[in-house]
């Protein structure tokens, strides 16, 4: 089995000759974003537990994996995310209100309350609309990359998937097309060892996920997904290859889903506590902290400031979000097409003219 690239060693030093030498400013930005992502996940899960939002899905333990990758891009590059990369929104400077309103599906939600929590869409930062069906973004990213190549632009595309996502139809055709057309796209598989209750060994008999790249004539790279510098370095190279016209890369970030699959799941029913503890020790934020300490960038004040300011701004956004109304009833009929249709108009009017209160009975979301 290919060994995964690691850079940050136990003592916090970078492996010789491997440090990507990011500036102090960059490093601090990454660190703060990791912390904010973690804080956001914790706050959101708490909101869900309190019944204030309907659902949540955490990225805890995978902050290095998704932030290190996305950091290798330019702002003009496009992202086709799965649902477990919320940190990228923060990294790209999304307005927290836009993030939090989505959880509530309120009138301020950019998605107008149409999708479950965490299915963000943010055009302003080239972050494509997240879909629930596993894998569909993969071939779409390839298609967008084909388009950029046809137009002779130098935009690079990055798409994310889980280990489960590698079994999808779109993984196969998305990577195959990218190989054939040498499209400027980087496929990042966050191998967090689990697809809900199915371990990666039951997902595929392939020795690694990275090994699957060969089937599509592209390089496959395996990297320690809890080591943000290693992830960054590998993705940086992949992004450069893509931008130079050398085609796609499959990156496997070896990481772990520290939380349950989502707010509806209880992983203790199917997962081994010892395994969890082993991975817990490799926490990506603490790992990065050791490096920053060694670099004299980390301090208790920094940590405290990062954590506190994250909490504050998120709490403030939550407060504002909770005060907002639901989307208007009329809005339910918008955006099916650019223009409405006679049928939609008729249905909109029929609903509007209905008397009495709507019913309020619902089952529970299980997943």
């Amino acid at each position: 089995m290919t060994k995964a690239l690691t850079i940050i060693e136990n003592d916090g030093k970078a492996a010789k000759g491997k440090d990507p030498n990011l500036s102090a400013e960059q490093l601090e930005k990454l660190y703060r974003t990791m912390v904010t992502t973690r804080v956001m996940d914790e706050r959101a899960l708490a909101l869900q537990r309190q019944g204030r939002i309907g659902f949540y899905l955490m990225s805890t333990g995978q902050e290095a994996s998704h932030l290190g990758s996305a950091f290798a891009l330019q702002d003009s590059d496009w992202l086709f995310p799965a649902y477990r990369q919320p940190g990228i929104l923060l990294l790209r400077g999304a307005d927290l209100d836009d993030v939090v309103n989505e959880w509530f599906g309120n009138a301020g939600d950019l998605c107008k309350g149409r999708q479950m929590p965490v299915h963000y869409s943010m055009r302003s930062i080239n972050f494509f609309s997240i879909s629930s069906p596993i894998g569909t973004q993969i071939s779409q990213a390839t298609g967008a990359a084909m388009a950029a190549k046809i137009r002779k632009e130098d935009t690079v595309f990055m798409t994310f998937m889980g280990d489960g996502g590698t079994s999808s139809n779109d993984f196969h055709c998305g990577l195959n097309f990218a190989g054939v057309y040498k499209s400027p796209v980087v496929f990042v598989c966050e191998n967090n060892q689990w697809a809900i209750s199915v371990p990666v060994e039951q997902q595929t008999a392939s020795e690694t996920i990275a090994a699957k790249a060969q089937a599509y004539g592209m390089p496959g790279v395996r990297v320690d997904g809890n080591d943000i510098l290693a992830v960054y370095r590998v993705c940086r190279e992949a992004v450069e290859r893509a931008r130079q016209g050398e085609g796609p890369t499959l990156v496997e970030t070896v990481t772990y889903r520290i939380g349950s699959h989502s707010s509806s799941d209880d992983a203790s029913r199917y997962r081994d506590q010892a395994e969890w503890e082993r991975w817990k020790e490799r926490d990506p934020i603490q790992r990065f902290q050791r490096y920053l300490k060694h670099k004299k960038i980390w301090s208790e004040e920094l940590e405290k400031d990062a954590t506190e300011s994250a909490k504050e701004s998120i709490n403030a956004a939550i407060k504002r979000a909770e005060e907002r109304a639901e989307p208007s009833i009329d809005s339910m009929f918008d955006d099916v097409y650019m223009n409405t249709t006679p049928q939609l108009d008729e249905q909109r009017e029929s609903l509007a003219s209905l008397e009495g209160p709507a019913e309020e009975e619902q089952g529970a979301f299980p997943l």
Partner: protein, 337 residues
């Protein structure tokens, strides 16, 4: 959850719809070792809704197992198993996620008997939670039975009570052809729906509807979670002096046309209630059958109460789904139009 091990038990048990489904699988796996159950997270976890709980424990990992994340693979392999002589029950975690397998369902499972001149058959059950009502938003709420109803070679079943759930699932497992078994997830654990279920072997034949409520003035046709809504509307209509008959076809294909037509001929009015988006929904098929075969009995328009022609929303789910208010208005419309 207590399971029934053999077909020999008798008596009734009170169960939720979900427990009844679980009971049906326990019963048939004990009865017939060709029955296997597989899908994403159906093993140790027992399914994301818990429908397959206890099956792996009881029947082992060879007969109840998890699959990789590929609906195409789940159905493709299930088809191969069925052709080879097994009785696979394939679970699709949400009906919304069935489309990667659509080709295997409509091009393969549905057509194998016909295209091979009857040489090969595909006795397969595809179970999938269907419909809205759990705040699942865009992609955990859709009702796409119409796609399958329009596919010759498939049977399409949807229960609305625990007893029917068990009886129809057992009948589907024993059927010699592929059955889409759609489960109204909104009422999986609904205590108002909870009810008596015969223990052991219990079969509700495919193709036969159920008169949910007798009445003389207007016929409501509804299936799955909409039966509840129809009942509520019927009660409210009764307060206004309207006597409503409710038909639950239970099997959408093949449809119990005589039961529906007989009712409409009696009442002279029809309202079809269905969660799916209006255009092209199965409500239209039923309306068309009535307009074709019972037009002379009609005393008003054939009304449809359906989901809207939009994708499924999240926040406004309760407004999207047909409710008693809308059904009641449609009933009134068939009187005053």
């Amino acid at each position: 959850m207590t399971a029934t091990d053999t077909g020999k038990e008798s008596g009734m048990k009170t169960m939720t719809l979900l427990e009844a489904l679980n009971d049906a699988m326990h019963t048939e796996m004990a009865n017939d070792d060709r029955v296997v159950v597989f899908g994403e997270d159906v093993g140790l976890k027992g399914g994301v809704f818990g429908t397959t709980q206890g099956l792996q424990e009881k029947f082992g990992t060879e007969r109840c197992f998890d699959t990789p994340l590929s609906e195409c693979g789940i159905i493709g392999t299930a088809v191969g198993m069925a052709v080879y002589g097994m009785r696979p029950i394939a679970e699709i975690q949400f009906l919304d996620f069935i489309y990667p397998a659509f080709d295997q369902i409509v091009s393969e499972a549905a057509k194998i008997r016909y295209r091979s001149g009857g040489e090969y058959t595909c006795p397969l059950v595809i179970r999938a939670p269907s419909g809205g009502g759990i705040r699942g938003g865009h992609y955990h709420s859709q009702s796409s039975e119409a796609y399958f109803c329009h596919t010759p070679g498939l049977k399409v079943v949807m229960p609305s009570t625990p007893s029917d759930a068990k009886g129809l699932l057992i009948a589907s497992i024993r059927d010699e052809d592929p059955v889409m078994f759609l489960e109204p997830k909104k009422i999986y654990r609904d205590l108002k729906v909870k009810g008596e279920v015969p223990a052991g072997e219990h079969i509700v034949p495919l193709g036969k509807g159920r008169v949910v409520r007798e009445g003389t003035d207007c016929t409501l046709v509804a299936w799955g979670a909409m039966v509840q809504v129809a009942e509520k509307a019927a009660e409210q209509a009764a307060e206004r002096g309207r006597s409503i008959e409710i038909i639950d076809p239970r099997t959408l294909v093949p449809l119990d046309e005589p039961m529906i037509l007989e009712s409409v001929k009696k009442t002279g009015r029809a309202v079809i209630v269905c969660e799916a988006p209006r255009t092209g929904s199965y409500a239209g098929e039923i309306a068309a059958i009535i307009a074709e075969k019972a037009i002379e009995y009609l005393e008003g328009p054939v009304a449809r109460v359906t989901g809207f022609d939009t994708p499924f929303p999240y926040t406004l789910e309760n407004l999207y789904m047909p409710d008693a208010r809308r059904v009641l208005r449609a009933i009134e419309h068939t009187f005053n139009w």
